[in-house]
Symmetry: C2
Subunit: 347 residues, 2 copies
Amino acid sequence: MTENAVKVRELGEQGLIAMIHRLQAQPPLGTIGIGDDAAYVPAPAGGGWLVTSDMLVEGIHFRFDWTDPEQLGDRAVAVNMSDIAAMGGVPRVALTSISIPGDYDSSRVEAIYRGVARALDRYHAVLVGGDTVGGVERLVLDVTVLGEPGPAGPIARRGARPGDRLVVTGRLGAAYAGYRLLEAGHRWPGTSSWERSVLRAQLSPEARVACGQLLAPLAHALTDVSDGLQPELQELTRFGGIGARIYADRLPVDRATRKAAARLGEDPLDWALFGGEDYELLAAVPPSRVGEAQRRVAAEGFVLTEIGEITDQPGIRLVRGEEEVKLDAGGFDHFRLEWAGLAAPRP
Amino acid sequence: MTENAVKVRELGEQGLIAMIHRLQAQPPLGTIGIGDDAAYVPAPAGGGWLVTSDMLVEGIHFRFDWTDPEQLGDRAVAVNMSDIAAMGGVPRVALTSISIPGDYDSSRVEAIYRGVARALDRYHAVLVGGDTVGGVERLVLDVTVLGEPGPAGPIARRGARPGDRLVVTGRLGAAYAGYRLLEAGHRWPGTSSWERSVLRAQLSPEARVACGQLLAPLAHALTDVSDGLQPELQELTRFGGIGARIYADRLPVDRATRKAAARLGEDPLDWALFGGEDYELLAAVPPSRVGEAQRRVAAEGFVLTEIGEITDQPGIRLVRGEEEVKLDAGGFDHFRLEWAGLAAPRP
């Protein structure tokens, strides 16, 4: 190691992923590999597999004074299910690898796995394996979910075309509102309905699995909004010389999120654009199919909001009132924020 | 939490797995779930998936003063490949979830992923995804491997019948010999061929994927020897009122392992029985098929040694000279050994 060695912290998450990607062999044709929400591996017999892993680390992604352990287990499953949802897939089974400080009460682990079981039941999947390790400082929970593509096959994050409409399920900014309330000392379940609503978005997100299956056959591109709207739009438009234009007054920011932002004296628009962890779905849909997409999602009890369109010009632009501004990168990088307490997304 | 709460450390790895298992829903018929080397999930379209996860934790499973990072990446893949081998499967793709201290040199992570790529290439698999997290004290690397069953379908750990012969690939005790040499201050690559041989077994194990595919159609039961021979025999004979008898003088303990044991003044038989991490395959094969199994494995360049037989009486028995003794449980439990430095298997 030299004195000029680059530290992992300086490389950052994106730099690290690029390095890992560069070192690995190309997957066979038809495979969707590193860089999408989940991987897709075609099977010789037909069908094929969707697979995704997400690791939650104590002190980075959660704190036990903020979350109850059953919520944590549920959330660890849900964030993976969201990746399957973003491929239009059908979840089937999960594995959990967990490393646990030896002095934790076993009842805490039991509660985590009650949450895992509860979430798996909700998404019609079962636990089939994993690993357990003791003797660490922090709890680490890595969940892998396997699923199958829907009837129309897997849908990738890229494939949007100029003129496509951008649509998003549910609401934006709520999970980050919950994070900010927790940081400000609020605790689940709170004392008012708006508080409870955004705390739930942060602590107990729900993956839009049914919506993903309904949107996949209609969309040119589909992703979840786990890293924030602006970063996800950047990923959606990364290739093909395309960009996106979104409209501030169309973003679905609900009353609870506005209340939380007002309480903290912040602009909820920032939260909707950069907050992350909303686990809603974002799709690029041809204009002629937007109505059908909205009807399908409504039948599941969710609102699908048209927030903008794909443009033939690179870059993400935000229309706010009379002005149109270019949105710079924001979002979430564990590596740089790591020692700043809980490294949640921040505007 | 009450004063009498049971700590994770007291529950131990087996207690924890039993608790997790109890809380989860039963998988659908035909699925092989928690408790085998890898899970098997039948696919509606035919075929189906094998999937397994193993998590390596710095200070528990490895130390950077003992292993070079490329060896570590290779090993993290190999231990998962061994689980696919133990199902007679064909590896296809892998995912890695890694959490990394931010002050580590990025060159260390680069070397780990060179090792991952090298191992995946050896087993004809590719990396398709995963997760990266920063800001922890120890490096944690959780690898998931997906594969397909061989033509004869997946083979479970249970299914052995009285009279079956017990056969094992390669050598036993070598990985533990390597661990003990590292503990005693020896370092890779050592100064003699015997030292290098057992250090390699510990630091760079190879999974017997081809042997697994060849043994699966001939065997009633198949597993790897990752947790030590005696514990694996207990798992192999857990149901059906069966047991095993093995012969001390038939156990394949090679010259390098004997040299290491002599150097440290220990009995290499203990290492072969309880040492663990050998990643060889152990099969229960009907007597009429032993010759064919040995020919097949020999064609791959490995020796398949007959070490004993399945009995119609529960318990594991060891024949040593004139006497037959009952072998009590030994093996590896991270949770109890966690603060004793590197919690490797010990007799």
